[in-house]
Symmetry: none
Subunit: 194 residues, 4 copies
DNA sequence: TCCTAAGCGAGACGGTACGTCTTGTCTTCCA
DNA sequence: TGGAAGACAAGACGTACCGTCTCGCTTAGGA
């Protein structure tokens, strides 16, 4: 079903703005960007910007959500034999490798910390679900599930951010292997506490 | 040598400003505070503020550095038999427990992410030093030291922030034990890779 | 010759817009009306508005010129024995009485001052012509013709505007009589200065 | 009593803004001036403008009121033997002659019509008072006082505006004499209607 | 009866001015 | 002489209108 032309125009404008933001983040960092910078680069009127996005952060998040949807696609496309934190992370590193530029802007340090809470909500759900299904029925509960999830999530994002900010010195598979070596021993030792 | 009265006045003003900032962070979060808010609460003139601090972030960091110095004192006072990541972390959790209010403001989520990079620099030095001295002379180097340091640091700060933002539901010793359970297996397994 | 239907459509749209403007002026005054207000009320597209009129003022003037043409018709239909300022004014007051609503909008105070200069140009021609033909060949020229014209014109428009803004408390003939009482003595005394 | 220096600074800024407005009105007319134009010329920050005046019109009126106060001073200083419409008008024409520049800006056609209603309120009081005290006890009431006042006021402002916009081709005394010749016969004839 | 061109609505868009808000500098006064 | 008070320049913000534009829908009048 072909879209209405109007819709295509709208999409074009949104894309122009998102692209401008990405380029500007890579140039001078998220915090120091003004709305004027963005619309100048996108050749877009001020009111047009505000017709599409509430403010700079809203624009940022729209790009971030795009990335997330795209990531979901990848995840489904891969359909790994088992979804666990380390297959999830592999897909993420690979995805980041493919879309370096956008990832560096939105997830790297120049992108500010806006994305942290959003990423956390998303990742924690996936990770927590996996862990819950592998928990022994009764365990000593020294470490609550919430903290174990937090642990895995924070290790993963730290690695991801570091990897992006250092221009991905390893291929996705290798950095993911490090992630596995860092977290798997701990996770297994904890899950097996009878 | 007695300080000049003037110096005491200066100290008083700096303290007033730092206290205002802490109170305001707990009330409405770091980002949404304006310089006007701070000086109104401190009953201080605008020019006075800028006589002492470059800007809001400078004030924040001055408080943060106070905390760090105080922490160093604690650390020396404790003089643990061995300084390793887990004794360091214990002192930190205990320190945070003692100065809850300031920690919640400066390290908790309401304090923004300004402190992250500063805390990282500080912690990474301590942690890295410990690791280096325990590294086997030749190892397979699958995981570089920098990443291992990052791993420990990010786990610690995640735990600390979570603990503060959830009103410290465990005593310092217990949350530190969780930290140990999360990181020690991994660290040891890595360090022993011949 | 019957007009093309297309032309009738065009006329209808123009009329819709003029009517909207009149209604809106009476409601909230000329200055505070936006083009959006006008086209919303007329159920007309934005581009349609600009296809017919350059801007809000152009629309206003188009209505004003309509009124003027209509007034010319009246003037011819009356064919007063002599056209002088006071027969002219009588026709005007009568015309205004008949088309109260439009006059209040376009000439009253809510209509702004746009019409003043246009009305002035029109009236001054009529008045000036009359005066010139009654001037004594040589007079002391203490008061130039231009000023005498201005005097009559400004008195007439002041009375007209006042009359409209006060909901026409007198019939046209009576307010015109006041106009005559106010201006005729002066005009005659001046014209007769040998 | 010397004013506080702060007050002098404030006065200076207000004056700068008023002067800018006058200069700009003479250059391009009131309507087409933007706040940015004003503050650029005055070398004043945007927020400073709004700290002193609500908007462009407020600035205009502040200048207008200055003029009025000054005019009152003149009027008192002159202390004419009798205050009637024609001595009042003489002082006004003389005052305008002295402060040509400001009058052309604030009362001339380039100044827009904002001042009309304000001037009217002021003048009508003076004129009305004079007329009331000269009314015969019982008269035929063909022309209400309000209209007679309006008549005098509108003639005076028409003359004043014309005079300013034509660069004052006559001295104040002569244009005032025209005003007298135009209005006095009518006023006397009306007031004497027994 | 169909075709075609014009009138039209809808509304996205670039642009500009608005009035508000915050920053960091500066000047003056007071204790 | 240091600090309080606060005026100020600078400039970003989000809003409101403007006048232009592109797009399809409708509809009349000629083929």
């Amino acid at each position: 079903m072909p879209q209405k032309v109007t819709d295509r125009r709208i999409q074009r404008t949104r894309q122009l703005l998102q692209d401008s933001l990405v380029a500007l983040i890579l140039e001078k960092g998220y915090e120091s960007i003004t709305v004027q910078d963005i619309i100048d680069r996108a050749n877009v009127g001020r009111s047009t910007f505000y017709a599409h996005f509430q403010d700079k952060e809203d624009l940022f998040l729209s790009g971030f959500e795009n990335l997330q949807s795209q990531f979901e696609q990848h995840l489904l496309g891969q359909s790994p034999s088992e979804i666990n934190p380390w297959t999830l992370s592999l897909v993420m590193f690979q995805h980041a490798q493919e879309y370096q530029r956008v990832y560096k802007a939105l997830v790297g340090e120049r992108g500010g910390h806006t994305m942290l809470s959003h990423l956390q909500r998303y990742m924690s759900a996936h990770i927590g679900e996996h862990l819950k299904s592998h928990l022994p029925v009764r365990r000593k509960e020294q470490i609550p599930l919430e903290i174990l999830t937090l642990y895995i999530y924070s290790t993963l994002t730290s690695l991801l951010t570091w990897w992006l900010d250092h221009d991905m010195p390893y291929p996705a598979e290798q950095i993911n292997d490090m992630f596995r070596q860092l977290t798997q021993p701990t996770v297994e030792s904890i899950l097996q506490q009878a």
